[in-house]
């Protein structure tokens, strides 16, 4: 390998790794692929802390109440969590979820209602002591 080849490669290595270090310290997920590696980087207080889960319930045009998995909406569980602040601001965004369900399940009875439910485990002494649910947002075709 020529000296120039080595110099270019060394410069690329330095730049690439400098970017990811800066990303870890100052940037966020938006700066992919140089954002921080924050897989499971947040924590929960062992007492008084809460662990939340999200689930969906829908009512079909046939009048049936069904449990809907996030996969059925074309999104992963964490992606739904990532969209929660937007849904809070504008619950009508749930209509897009209902449309996504429709285009991914053309043969199923379409949704006329969709409810997003937040389940909360309350921790005491590091263990789950209580569980409750509340409706975060609802949409109905009207």
């Amino acid at each position: 390998m020529t000296t120039a080849g080595k110099r270019i490669r060394a410069a690329c290595t330095t730049a690439m790794f400098a970017l990811v270090v800066v990303g870890t310290l100052f940037w966020g997920d938006d700066d992919f692929p140089f954002g921080p590696f924050r897989m499971y980087s947040t924590t929960t207080a062992p007492t008084g802390g809460a662990v939340t889960i999200t689930r969906f319930e829908g009512t079909t045009a046939a009048g049936e109440d069904i449990e809907i998995d996030t996969d059925q909406l074309g999104l992963r569980r964490a992606e739904v969590l990532g969209q929660v602040p937007r849904i809070r601001r504008a619950p009508s965004l749930l209509s897009s979820f209902a449309r996504a369900y429709g285009s991914l399940h053309p043969d199923a009875s379409p949704l006329v209602e969709l409810r997003m439910i937040y389940g909360t485990y309350v921790l005491v002494g590091g263990r789950s002591a209580r569980y409750f649910e509340r409706e975060l947002a609802a949409w109905s075709r009207s």
Binding site: M1, F32, S41, L75, Q83
Partner: protein
């Protein structure tokens, strides 16, 4: 008489040592095997790991939240045509690249298409954090050029590419520890971090752990120590091998207990192995009787 070494000589010595570390000369066959493994993994990734991304083409546009690179570079938005086209093109090019044909051209095309696949997958509210090493691998492998399986000749270009992948793997662990400190603070090790994971996605193996919070807290200390010490993986000999083994055990246990595996990252651990010893063709010839086998 007191011996004296001038600072410039020390500096030169340091640069020389750094250079020889960054450009080791393993047999070219090592990078060739790595290349096959990485491109085959791309196929597996598109078909299995991120198979859900193909649904993006059907989603309403208001769910799309483009990442920085998609907003600032000419990256097309996912749609019913773009997503399947990128998918098929990526599958074909990665399959061809795995054979070692046109390593530079196909390598660059696969890198660009894979990056686009990542933008499609991660622009809907969640970014995965296990992609750095594989993206580095896809970026550096085209520079290796025409090495072949079984090449025994020392090759600095292969050495650099493999070194970059190794450093990317190590940085992923080490910087993940820094991210934990940045986002979780010191509470990350003392809090109910793993309890949350167990409650949310624990397997039947993890369920009993919900009764032993102290064990989970101790594990948190272990994980933090392991990640901060990850640069030891770059040390030659027993220390490095031990650390590599620890990393594999860590990923297997994480998968068994909370169904979480960072496969694109795990595949890059191969860059630490003497892959040139893999001889698929010879292995098959020795075991499958046929006209080519010795009588």
């Amino acid at each position: 008489m007191e011996s004296f070494v001038s600072p410039t000589r020390i500096e030169h010595g340091l640069v020389r040592r750094l250079t020889s570390w960054l450009f080791p000369a393993p047999p070219g066959g090592r990078a060739a095997v790595m290349r096959t493994a990485v491109y085959l993994f791309v196929l597996f990734d598109v078909l299995v790991v991120t198979s859900w991304a193909v649904d993006r083409g059907q989603l309403p546009a208001d769910l799309y939240r483009p990442l920085f690179i998609a907003r600032h570079f000419p990256v097309p938005s996912p749609g019913p045509v773009l997503v399947p086209v990128v998918r098929v093109a990526l599958l074909i090019c990665a399959a061809m690249a795995a054979t070692g044909r046109l390593p530079r051209m196909l390598g660059i095309v696969v890198f660009v298409l894979y990056l686009e696949w990542m933008v499609i997958a991660f622009s809907y509210g969640k970014v995965d954090h296990d992609r750095f090493a594989i993206l580095v691998a896809l970026a550096v492998l085209p520079t290796v050029g025409g090495v072949r399986w079984g090449d025994q000749e020392a090759d600095a270009a292969s050495g650099w590419a493999l070194r970059c992948i190794q450093v990317a793997v190590v940085l992923t662990y080490f910087l993940a520890a820094l991210a934990k400190i940045r986002f979780g603070g010191i509470d990350w090790v003392n809090g109910a971090t793993l309890m949350r994971a167990v409650l949310r996605r624990g397997t039947f193996l993890a369920e009993p752990l919900a009764s032993y919070p102290w064990l989970l807290t101790a594990t948190q200390y272990g994980i933090m120590a392991f990640e901060l010490a990850a640069p030891l993986m770059l040390v030659c000999g027993r220390v490095g091998r031990l650390f590599l083994g620890a990393a594999v055990v860590f990923h297997v246990i994480t998968y068994l207990f909370i169904r979480l595996i960072f496969l694109p990252h795990v595949i890059c651990l191969l860059a630490f192995l003497p892959l040139e010893r893999a001889r698929a063709v010879r292995w098959v010839r020795l075991r499958v009787p046929g006209p080519h086998s010795a009588a």
